[in-house]
Each structure stands twice: as structure tokens, then as C-alpha cells.
């Protein structure tokens, strides 16, 4: 099934107590596509992708990966399907060094679970060099790295394991302009290699600059989805703020 979308979610729903965090949202992601996920704080963006990355199960709805229905219950399940996530909180263990963080849960081992540190260090150095992120010292603890350096580690972790689907939740929130530009280059580069990327942002400039298509959420519901080139920034803002679909998209 080569023409099946890389990822497809159908009518996915999640409630926390009485809060409908995500309410019947559907989504498609193709190979090499960058999908911008837009919406205000609390719109349900993080909740939606956390179901796809196995943080918690959906209340209802179906998940398809490469056309096959899948059951994602744990972060491991998602990773095994080639779905890597860079969480808004980065999910790093601050008391460990960069190399340890890159490989947590997927250490390279030589025998009986003993780690092959040299192989891990080599892979880490190669990946970071390829991403052109310069880390002063791979042995420093993550707790003493800057926001940008931590972001680099979180992204490198996804790149290192050859993600087919990359979910990035607010990847540039902690970054300065120069590092933001780097992340932008990286997103284009990875999409060029055929990786599907879901880019969450509340900054519509990011999304217009990088995404092929956008999906707007508001109060847990899907407002609509459109190729970025077919909508203006004002129309996108109207979707985010008021939930108004631009006239061109109304049927």
C-alpha cells in the first residue's frame, strides 16, 4: 500500500474529566510533508500528538500508519512504528549527560545489556555534526546546557533513530533567532528526505515559512485544514481566533 498516507487519524477524541481536550479530530500526513498544527494555548494540539506518540491512549478514534491500523499504548509502540516526538518539555533527564540522553531506552549494547559507549559516542558525534549543532562537551550534564543546546539534543535524539514521522511540539519556543533558523533548515532537510513532520506552533509565521499544509484546532475541535499557499496569514488568524473558515475553503 504505497499510496496510503504515512499517518492517518480518524475521529480521535480525548477528554480529561469534563474537558474535551480533543474532540473528533482527523488528520493525514504524507511522506515528506510538513503539517503545521495551529491553535491557541489549550486548543488541544499537545493532547492530539501525545495520543499519537503513546503518552496516553485515545478515548476513541482510529490510528493508521502506512495504511495499517495500529494500536499505540506506550511511547515504545510509537517509536517502533518510526514515530519520534520532540515534546514541548523536551523530556530530558537532567542528571545525565548528552550521550546518555540521546540513547535512553535504546542504548547500543555489546552483550547482556552492557552498553557500548564508544559506539554511542560515535553515533552521537556524527548526528550532531550533521545537524551542525555544536555542543561544547558531550559529557556535560544536560542540567548545565542552555535552552538551545537542550533543544538540539532532543531533536538529535529523533534524527539519530531515523524517524519516519517526526512530531515537534513548539520546537523553537526556547530558541533565539539564529537557532530557530537552524531548526527551520533542519525541518526542510528532513522533509526532503521523505520524513513526514508534524510541526506544532502558535506562531503562524513559523508555519507559513515551513509547512506545506496547516491544520487549525480550536477548543479541542478541528476548524479546518488547507495547503498553506491557499490561505493568507489573516485568514489563518481568523481560523485560530474565531474558528472562521476562509470563503475559499467553504463548500
Amino acid at each position: 500500500m504505497t499510496d496510503a498516507p504515512l499517518i492517518e487519524l480518524r475521529d480521535v477524541t480525548k477528554a480529561f474529566g469534563g474537558v474535551h481536550a480533543v474532540d473528533r479530530v482527523s488528520l493525514r500526513l504524507e511522506r515528506g510533508e510538513v503539517l503545521g498544527l495551529l491553535g491557541h494555548n489549550g486548543a488541544g494540539k499537545s493532547t492530539l500528538i501525545k495520543m499519537l506518540s503513546g503518552v496516553f491512549p485515545a478515548d476513541s478514534g482510529d490510528f493508521y500508519v502506512r495504511g495499517e491500523k495500529v494500536d499505540i499504548r506506550e511511547p515504545r509502540d510509537a517509536k517502533e512504528l518510526g514515530i519520534e516526538t520532540i515534546y514541548q518539555t523536551l523530556a530530558l533527564s537532567e542528571n545525565l549527560d548528552s550521550i546518555a540522553n540521546l540513547f535512553i531506552g535504546r542504548e547500543k549494547t555489546s552483550f547482556f545489556g552492557f552498553m557500548d559507549e564508544v559506539r554511542m559516542e560515535r553515533a552521537a558525534r556524527e548526528t550532531l555534526a550533521r545537524m551542525k549543532f555544536n555542543l561544547p562537551n558531550l559529557a556535560t550534564l544536560v542540567s548545565s546546557l542552555s535552552g538551545g543546546q537542550r533543544q538540539a539534543i532532543a531533536i538529535a535524539r529523533a534524527v539519530l533513530f531515523k524517524a519516519e514521522v517526526l512530531i515537534m511540539d513548539e520546537p523553537t519556543a526556547a530558541l533565539g533567532p539564529e537557532e530557530t533558523a537552524k531548526v527551520g533548515d533542519l525541518i526542510r532537510e528532513l522533509a526532503g528526505q521523505g520524513i513526514g513532520i508534524i510541526l506544532i506552533s502558535h506562531d503562524i509565521h513559523d508555519v507559513f515559512a515551513l509547512a506545506d499544509r496547516m491544520l487549525v484546532m480550536r477548543n479541542g475541535k478541528m476548524v479546518g485544514t488547507a495547503p498553506t499557499k491557499d490561505v493568507t496569514e489573516d485568514e489563518a488568524l481568523a481560523m485560530i481566533i474565531a474558528g472562521n473558515l476562509p470563503s475559499a475553503l467553504q463548500k
Binding site: 549527560d97 531506552g105 532537510e189
Partner: protein, 409 residues
């Protein structure tokens, strides 16, 4: 995107330097404190404290708490606690003694290892229950093991109606260090030689491998210093143990078997903490439980394994102390959990999780035991001894906090 890899030599050595023991200031401070304690007691007791006889006994006394402290470091690093270890020691001891006296012939050839196996299994089973209640039922480890503390102590009493079981199997007793319970001079020297060879081998192999991949190594002077300190410690240790003559035979004692067990446990646990996935995951869990779970680690299974490991070590610790006493009583190991936790904490294990070393825990145990032994030699009354140990514990944490605040960790 270019694939130019920056010249590794331009980057400081990763891993090797910051992870090597000697550069860790806190560890150096602990060794300094231990040396100060030893010199202080040596002077105060006119050298009696530093006599081979006393140091040999000290090595025997530290072995049980030391074995348990290695497990407690992992437990505390993972943000848990195990208050049940002292009661486990008593319970497992009674189980082992019952196996030796009721099920097996007390003087049977296989009695020692079958009863030892039964003790390890009992410990693992208790750990499994503790771990399952913590990891899968979600009960805080403090509560689970507080329950265990009360349960196993009294279960030990119920098992044999409070009667002490003695004597025990003669081969089994060697595990405790008494009666043919040490290696003798020649074997001790051999053990030391093997240990030194292993240190040299791994040091060279590690540097070779890093060099082969073009990674920078720490400076050779640093390596020589670390290796030199290790070799000197081994030589001194063997020399002292061989200088002690067994009272009956007048032969050189050499390393006591429980001490050999402690060394092997310490080395294994240290290697696990630095080089094995399990140790890496335990430290990650302690540093950030959420991140560790998000990274795909099965944190519940990890927690279960952690408590099983602690239980296994309780089985081993119980075998050592029960064999040394040549008796199993339900009260054996009372309050030992506090000494074990104190050893881990004095050794720099942070109660907020994620930080600690096996070497630190062992040094902590040695410092505690040295204080106790030295004060006994000086005739300090027992209550005052306990008060002083309490003050040392608080001071150790205070210094540790100050150190952390200054180094920004």
C-alpha cells in the same frame, strides 16, 4: 547539509574524564574524611585501631551493611526507599537456618549452597512483592517497606516461635568469615594480582578503543594517578589482611570470604551503574521519571527489577551475618535499615533522586563502621556512639547540600 565532522581532538574528552572516580571532588573529600577518621582513631588508641587485627575485624563488620548499601544506593537514586532490609535480614536468616536444620542434614555436603540458594530466593521473592506493590499497585515505597519492616520482623518470630537456631552448617559458616572463613596468604595475593591485572587491562583497553575511533582520552598523567591509587590500595589491603594471624592456627588470615563477597558485589554493582542499561535507566528514572517513561523505558518493570535486586542483596547480606553469628534469631538485623540508608546518604546519594555512586555508598558504610569500631575501642558508651553517628549523618548531608549549591548541580 554538509557532513563535515568536527575534529574530535578539538573537543574535550567526553565521558572518561568526568566519569572517572578520581576527578570527582566529593569522592576525594570522602576518602580524605575516611583517612582522617582512621588516623584520628589510630592516634587516640595508640595504634590499636590500625592494627591488622582491628582492621580485619572492621572488614568483617562492614561486609553486611556494605552489600546492602550498594542496593540502597540504587533504590534511593530511583527516588525510592527500602525500610524493610533489616527485617528481611532477620526473616531470611531464620528461613536459611530452618532449611539447614529441619529440611537438610546439618552436616550434609550440599547443605551450605542449597540453604544459601534458598536465602537468595527468599530475598528475591520479598523484593518481588515489594516491587510489585510499588510499581504496579502504585503504593509509595515508604509505605510498602514500612509495612515490610513490621511484617518480616514478626514473621521471622512466628517462623520459629522466637527461638534462636544454632549452631549452623560448618561450610555455611565460612560465608561469615569465621572458622576457615578467609582465603589465606597465597590466595589473597593471587586475588590481588588478578585485580591489579584487571585494572590495567580495562584501562588500556578503554584508551585503545577511544583512540581507535579518534576520540580524545584523558591525559596519561591522570590515568597513571588513578591506576596508581587503585594498585596501591589493593597492595596495602592485601598486606594488612595477610599481616593478621588467625588466633588458633597462627596462620595469615588473608581476605575474609564475606569481604571478598562484598568486593565482588561492589565491583559488579559499580559496573552495572556505569556500564549497564539497567543502571543507566535507574539513574534516568531518578533524574526524571516522566522523561524516562516518554523515552520508552518500561519504568514499572524497571522498578520491579530494582526491588528484586535489593531483595537478592538482602539474601546475601543475611547469609553473611547469620553465618558470622553462627545463629539465626528473629531479631538479627534490627535497625540495620537505618545504618544502610545512612551509609548511602553519607556516601553522597541524594534523597531527591538521580545522584549517587556505589563507591560512595561503600565509603559511607566504611566511615560509619569505622566510627563505631573506633568508639568502641575508646570505650565510648553506646548511646553516645549512636548520637555521634547521628550528628555525622546530618553533617554529611549538610556538607553535600553546600557542595551542590556551590557547584550548581
Amino acid at each position: 547539509m554538509a557532513t563535515d565532522i568536527p575534529a574530535p581532538a578539538a573537543q574535550p574528552a567526553a565521558g572518561a574524564v568526568t566519569r572517572s572516580g578520581l576527578t570527582d571532588l566529593r569522592l576525594i573529600a570522602m576518602i580524605a574524611i575516611l583517612v582522617a577518621v582512621w588516623v584520628g582513631f589510630g592516634v587516640a588508641t595508640n595504634g590499636v585501631f590500625l592494627s591488622p587485627r582491628n582492621l580485619f575485624n572492621l572488614s568483617l563488620q562492614v561486609s553486611t551493611v556494605g552489600v546492602l548499601a550498594t542496593g540502597m544506593v540504587f533504590i534511593i537514586v530511583a527516588r525510592h526507599i527500602d525500610l524493610s532490609v533489616g527485617s528481611q535480614i532477620g526473616f531470611i536468616g531464620v528461613v536459611g537456618a530452618l532449611v539447614q536444620t529441619q529440611i537438610l542434614p546439618i552436616d550434609g555436603t550440599h547443605t551450605w549452597w542449597i540453604s544459601l540458594g534458598a536465602m537468595l530466593l527468599t530475598g528475591a521473592a520479598i523484593g518481588l512483592v515489594n516491587g510489585a506493590l510499588v510499581a504496579y499497585a502504585g503504593i509509595p515505597s515508604f509505605v510498602v517497606t514500612l509495612g515490610g519492616l513490621m511484617f518480616y520482623r514478626n514473621a521471622a518470630y512466628m517462623l520459629n516461635e522466637g527461638r534462636t537456631i544454632s549452631p549452623l552448617n560448618e561450610d555455611f559458616r565460612r560465608i561469615g568469615g569465621g572458622l576457615d572463613g578467609s582465603l589465606g596468604a597465597a590466595t589473597s595475593i593471587l586475588v590481588g594480582a588478578v585485580a591489579i591485572a584487571a585494572i590495567l587491562f580495562f584501562a588500556v583497553a578503554s584508551r585503545r578503543k577511544r583512540a581507535q575511533f579518534g576520540f580524545p582520552n584523558p591525559p596519561a598523567s591522570m590515568a597513571f594517578l588513578t591506576i596508581g591509587a587503585g594498585v596501591a590500595t589493593i597492595v596495602a589491603f592485601i598486606a594488612v589482611m595477610n599481616a593478621y594471624e588467625l588466633p588458633r592456627t597462627k596462620e595469615a588470615a588473608g581476605i575474609a570470604i564475606p569481604v571478598l563477597i562484598l568486593i565482588m558485589v561492589g565491583v559488579s554493582m559499580s559496573v552495572i551503574s556505569r556500564r549497564h542499561q539497567f543502571g543507566r535507566h535507574v539513574f534516568s528514572l531518578g533524574g526524571s521519571p516522566e522523561s524516562t517513561a516518554l523515552s520508552g523505558v518500561n519504568t514499572r518493570l524497571l522498578t520491579l527489577k530494582l526491588f528484586v535486586l535489593m531483595g537478592l542483596l538482602c539474601g546475601l547480606g543475611s547469609a553473611i551475618v547469620t553465618a558470622r553469628l553462627n545463629a539465626a534469631a528473629s531479631v538479627t538485623g534490627t535497625m540495620m535499615e537505618l545504618n544502610v540508608i545512612a551509609a548511602a546518604v553519607i556516601g553522597g546519594t541524594s534523597l531527591s533522586g538521580g545522584v549517587g555512586t556505589i563507591v560512595g555508598g561503600l565509603l559511607g558504610a566504611l566511615i560509619m563502621q569505622s566510627l563505631e569500631s573506633g568508639m568502641i575501642l575508646m570505650g565510648v558508651p553506646t548511646p553516645l556512639q549512636r548520637m555521634i553517628v547521628a550528628v555525622v549523618l546530618i553533617l554529611a548531608v549538610l556538607i553535600d547540600l553546600a557542595y551542590r549549591a556551590r557547584s550548581g548541580k
